[in-house]
């Protein structure tokens, strides 16, 4: 059996991480599933485990003037109780897993797991979230789109852990979140979508779309969004087909037992179209 350590402080966690490779264990809802066996034997982790779920220091939601700060060990259920947590993120969390799972699972775990179907990632992309990665030596603030570097790959090094998720305070005119799954509870996404926009003097001044489960990482295209900035709603809606085809060129959905390419493509199209129809 591998070494399993219940850390008492962030400091201890970081110093252990500086010594060797550990598996960081938060809610364990991904880790247990990924490492389960059929027999009743202990979970056969491949590396020593740092059990961090009860680090009180990392269980918080704090509001600053411009940012919201979420401690890495705050559970999904706890996040739902804070008024300050943005609606887009709450809508995503409400549809993740089921109550029992949400009572122990964390946002950091969803990020650390780096699944293309990770549901919180999609609103966090749209919200321009920053991921705080800390090691004994330093702390880095990584914009979410740079945190994910490939299929199930993050920018995190072995000596770092996520300690905080930072969300800029945004005031959107309107947002739209959609998760398309097989059933209402305990079902991973076939496609998910988080859109947001703002309008000043009848012109679009902010336009964001993130799409999940249609590529190895969440699709967010700043270049496409830029084309709509400064446009009136009427102008934007005229560009709808062009915008949709630009997005379609950056998705790469797959066939799996949950869904297929044809469906994921069509639904992506329909959701972008539906979101653009809501502009007003």
């Amino acid at each position: 059996m591998v070494e399993q350590i219940i850390v008492k402080s962030v400091e201890e966690a970081l110093s252990r991480l500086s010594e060797r490779k550990y598996i960081i264990y938060a809610g364990g809802t991904d880790l247990i599933v990924q490492n389960r066996t059929v027999s009743e034997a202990p979970i056969p982790f491949k590396n020593p485990v740092l059990y961090c779920a009860n680090l009180k220091e990392l269980k918080y939601v704090k509001e600053g003037d411009d940012y919201l700060y979420i401690g890495a060990m705050t559970t999904l259920s706890e996040l739902l109780t804070y008024e300050s947590v943005p609606k887009l993120l709450k809508e995503a969390i409400e549809q993740m897993a089921s109550p029992a799972i949400r009572n122990i699972a964390t946002l950091a775990g969803n990020l650390g797991n780096a699944s293309p179907a990770g549901d919180s990632l999609v609103p966090l992309y749209t919200l321009n979230a920053l991921i705080k990665c800390q090691s004994v030596k330093a702390s880095r603030l990584i914009p979410i789109q740079d945190f994910f570097v490939g299929l199930k790959k993050t920018a995190l090094t072995d000596s770092e852990m996520i300690t905080e998720i930072i969300i800029p305070k945004n005031r959107f005119k309107s947002t739209m979140y959609r998760k398309v799954g097989t059933r209402k509870a305990d079902a991973l996404s076939k496609v998910s979508f988080a859109g947001a926009y703002s309008i000043v003097h009848d012109k679009i001044c902010d336009f964001r779309i993130s799409i999940g489960a249609v590529n190895v990482t969440v699709v967010r295209r700043f270049d496409i969004e830029a084309k709509l900035i400064g446009k009136t709603i009427e102008q934007a809606q005229k560009m709808k087909n062009q915008i949709i085809s630009l997005y379609l060129s950056s998705i790469k959905p797959i066939n799996d037992q949950r869904s297929n390419i044809e469906y994921r493509t069509q639904v992506t199209k329909n959701l972008i179209s539906a979101f653009m129809d809501t502009l007003d």
């Binding site: 059933r183 037992q257 297929n260 469906y263 069509q266 329909n270 959701l271 179209s273």
Partner: protein
């Protein structure tokens, strides 16, 4: 009525919830050997050699069994009456494996871990063969699943193993081709239904021990304890008198536990080693290596006149029984016999088809038992026909469907594997069910659909259904009632409570007839040593068959009591009144109460034990009927469906326990919706089940259905106990067709393949757009 038609809580519910010792594995002895099965990684292979020496050398391993340890006796695990309508095409272990998950070898060891390790140490040399994975290509394929000469049918079922045909059948009434030619409007469509999993929460579980009389005692999570005893004796050569099978509380069956799965192995091991042993299937084994529902292709043709008179039904069915032919013929036949009589006014009907072997997990009994597949096809086709006729689908059904006191010639022709039994519908409130359901779902204000928002559409759809109540002249149930001092009774029944509540309603029947309260009837069921025979919990038979046996026994007991009381009261039996508690001499008003009478019979005077017994075989199988109505919200952008409401109006005769009956109906509705919406066994191109856990095989959760409305029609079936018919299966039949009809009413696309996933809906919408 005092006790029946009342919603008593089930007699075992509270104890189970408090965690009392109740289920099969609770009764396993602490020192039981753990039994595990080595399973085939190939869909089809010949075992060339098994080297178990390394496993046997492991400390704690008791034995490793292979096909060489068992006599070569073909049998069927189906768990049916004898002779079975299923072919004897299975050996306890064989030198061929025919699906991924089939049994290769069996290990018994002192712990789980040792067992697992031993499994990994067994070296098996396989000669891998080409499998048959597409059931539409199975007949006359060059790859034959069952070339072995010993296998056979028990009576003619159209068994042609060398053509990969497990069973086949043909029947017709009138000239279908001619009727179709003469019809003004004809529709033709093929429908596909998928493999569904039972997903009972308690996995297949059985344990064995030798008792102090050197008899084999089994605790088994089974639906058929008496069949289990018989089949064990037939296959292992253990005398029937040396076997006792006890069925404790069971955590769900749905047909999956009608068959035998681990029973042969633990029995063999315990009988041979004299040590207790047990097996508990892993969830993966339940998924891969127990049973599924038979996948089918149903080719339907309907013909009608312009005025909406249905004239002809033509139905060919191809059914996939997987590696073994368990329930092959009977499930297939029920797809016709418990569906086609719904439209009894047609000129001609034809029903025929084949049940084929493939290298899939075997299919077996499953709630609905073919009727859900047949219902989906027929009730979908009826709506398609109505569309072509420009006729309201409810009006069409009201015109063409079965009514009270009518019959169908199909009843006499089609039974379960054999000829059927003619009968009139003495109770059939289908008319009321349709009318009431239409009101409850608000049909007129929604049909065919209402646009709710840019992407959401609200629509309704419906279907009608029937089932049976036991198998006439085959299914037998029996009961013994024993009077105790103090004036309470024991009710001993072979009937098998698997969570559906049969112990409760059978006790209610006895209490009603004996005019006593429910707590005075102590039920004990399903123990081959202590209770009388019963075929088991299947074919919607318990309420009707076992219930009639209980009622007859209770009547007898009442007669015995009055006889004894009249002796005490010194009058004729006709002069003795009994109200359940007190006997009265109506001539002189002298009384004696039941308690005093039973104490007297036990201890004081004219001592004797009063016991009454009876048994019952049905002479008909009165069908329950229902109308199912669904209201959905469908998202045309994503193809997602939300179930807003499901209305069931059911004619099951007298609901003996309305709460339990409602539970049966609604459980069936949700399980049927699972099949309609997304439950699906997905098999890879290599023949592997890739949905063998609850993360990948989705069943509906509590969140899925917003509202279920269930009502019972006022109905009385004179042949049933206190007017009751069955209610265990009928609920599952309507959801697939009702949903398919609602989808067409919303979007104008016809879903002809289950499950009706958003992927298929979006694809159909795209195809429709292209056509326009």
């Amino acid at each position: 009525m005092k006790t029946v038609n009342k919603s008593f809580p089930s007699v075992d519910g509270k104890g189970i919830m408090m965690g009392r010792v109740a289920f099969t594995d609770d009764y396993a002895l602490q020192n039981s050997l753990i039994v595990k099965i080595l399973r085939s990684p190939h869909p089809y292979a010949k075992i060339k050699n098994i080297d178990a020496s390394k496993a046997l050398a492991l400390a704690g391993v008791e034995c490793v069994l292979t096909h060489k340890d068992f006599p070569r006796i073909p049998f069927t695990r189906a768990g049916q009456g004898y002779p079975e309508p299923s072919p004897h095409d299975k050996f306890i272990l064989d030198e061929f494996v025919r699906y991924i998950g089939d049994e290769v070898a069996v290990v018994a060891a002192t712990s789980n871990d040792i067992c697992e390790e031993a499994l990994s140490l067994i070296d098996v040399e396989y000669e891998v063969m080409d499998p048959v994975l597409n059931f539409e290509e199975a007949i006359d394929s060059s790859h034959i699943l069952h070339p072995e000469p010993e296998i056979h049918e028990m009576f003619p079922i159209g068994f042609e193993p060398l053509r990969n045909i497990a069973a086949s059948y043909h029947m017709h009434i009138g000239d279908v081709e001619l009727s179709l030619k003469e019809s003004d409007v004809v529709i033709q469509q093929s429908f596909y239904t998928q493999a569904q999993q039972h997903t009972a929460l308690e996995p297949h579980t059985v344990n064995a021990q030798m008792d102090y009389q050197d008899r084999l005692v089994l605790y088994s999570s089974t639906q058929t304890p008496f069949h289990v005893r018989r089949i064990l004796s037939q296959t292992l050569g253990i005398p029937l008198s040396k076997i006792r099978v006890i069925k404790p509380r069971v955590g769900g069956g749905f047909g999956g536990k009608q068959a035998l799965h681990g029973e042969m192995f633990v029995s063999y091991i315990t009988y041979k080693t004299k040590k207790p042993s047990k097996i508990v299937f892993t969830r993966k084994e339940v998924f891969e290596s127990s049973y599924t529902r038979h996948p089918m292709r149903l080719d339907i043709k309907l013909g009608a006149d312009k005025d909406g008179t249905l004239k002809a039904i033509d139905c060919y069915v191809l059914s996939d029984t997987g590696a073994y032919g368990e329930h092959a013929l009977t499930v297939f036949m029920v797809a016709g016999s418990k569906v086609l009589p719904l439209y009894n006014k047609v000129d001609s009907v034809r029903f025929h088809g084949h049940v084929v072997y493939t290298n899939h997990t075997p299919a077996g009994a499953f709630r609905g038992y073919g009727a859900i597949q047949g219902n989906y096809a027929l009730e979908s086709a009826v709506d398609m026909l109505c569309r072509k006729l420009h006729m309201d689908p409810i009006e069409f059904r009201q015109k063409n469907m079965m009514k009270e006191n009518e019959t169908s010639p199909i009843f006499a022709i089609m039974g379960e594997g054999t000829e059927g039994t003619a009968m009139n519908m003495e109770s059939c409130k289908l008319d009321y069910c349709v009318k009431r359901g239409k009101e409850l779902i608000n049909w007129d204000s929604i049909y065919p659909h209402k646009n709710v928002s840019r992407e959401k559409i609200r629509s309704v759809g419906m279907a009608i259904a029937m089932q049976g109540s036991g198998i006439p002249y085959i299914d037998m149930g029996s009961a013994i009632i024993k009077l105790n001092d103090d004036g309470f009774y024991n009710l001993l029944i072979g009937a098998t409570d698997i969570g559906q509540g049969s112990d409760t309603i059978l006790a209610q029947i006895a209490a009603e007839e004996l005019m006593t309260s429910l707590d005075k009837v102590i039920v004990y069921s399903s123990d081959t040593d202590l209770t009388p025979f019963d075929t088991g919990a299947y074919a919607s038979s318990t309420t009707f068959i076992s219930g009639n046996a209980v009622l007859k026994a209770a009547k007898k007991m009442k007669g015995l009591l009055i006889e004894e009381a009249s002796k005490v009261l010194k009058c004729n039996v006709t002069e003795t009144d009994f109200d359940g508690f007190t006997f009265k001499n109506t001539v002189n008003d002298e009384i004696i109460n039941l308690r005093d009478l039973s104490n007297r019979l036990t201890y004081n005077e004219d001592q004797k034990q009063l016991v009454a017994d009876s048994s019952y075989v049905g002479h008909k199988s009165p069908p329950p009927f229902m109308a199912g109505f669904i209201e959905i919200l469908i998202d045309r952008e994503t193809g997602e469906i939300e179930i807003e409401n499901y209305v069931s109006v059911v004619d099951c005769g007298t609901p003996l326990n309305p709460k339990l009956a409602q539970g049966q109906v609604e459980g069936g509705i949700v399980q049927g919706l699972g099949m309609a919406l997304y439950e699906n066994v997905i098999i890879s191109s290599k023949g592997k089940n890739i949905t063998s856990d609850f993360l990948n095989y989705k069943v509906p959760t509590r969140m899925e259905i917003k509202k279920l409305v269930t009502e019972f029609a006022e109905s009385y079936e004179s042949s049933g106990p206190f007017g009751a018919k069955s209610v265990g299966e009928i609920g599952i039949d309507t959801p697939p067709a009702a949903l398919a009809n609602a989808i067409e009413n919303a979007l104008g696309v016809r879903m002809t393949e289950l499950p009706m996933t958003p992927e298929k809906i979006i694809r159909a919408l795209k195809a429709k757009e292209k056509r326009q």
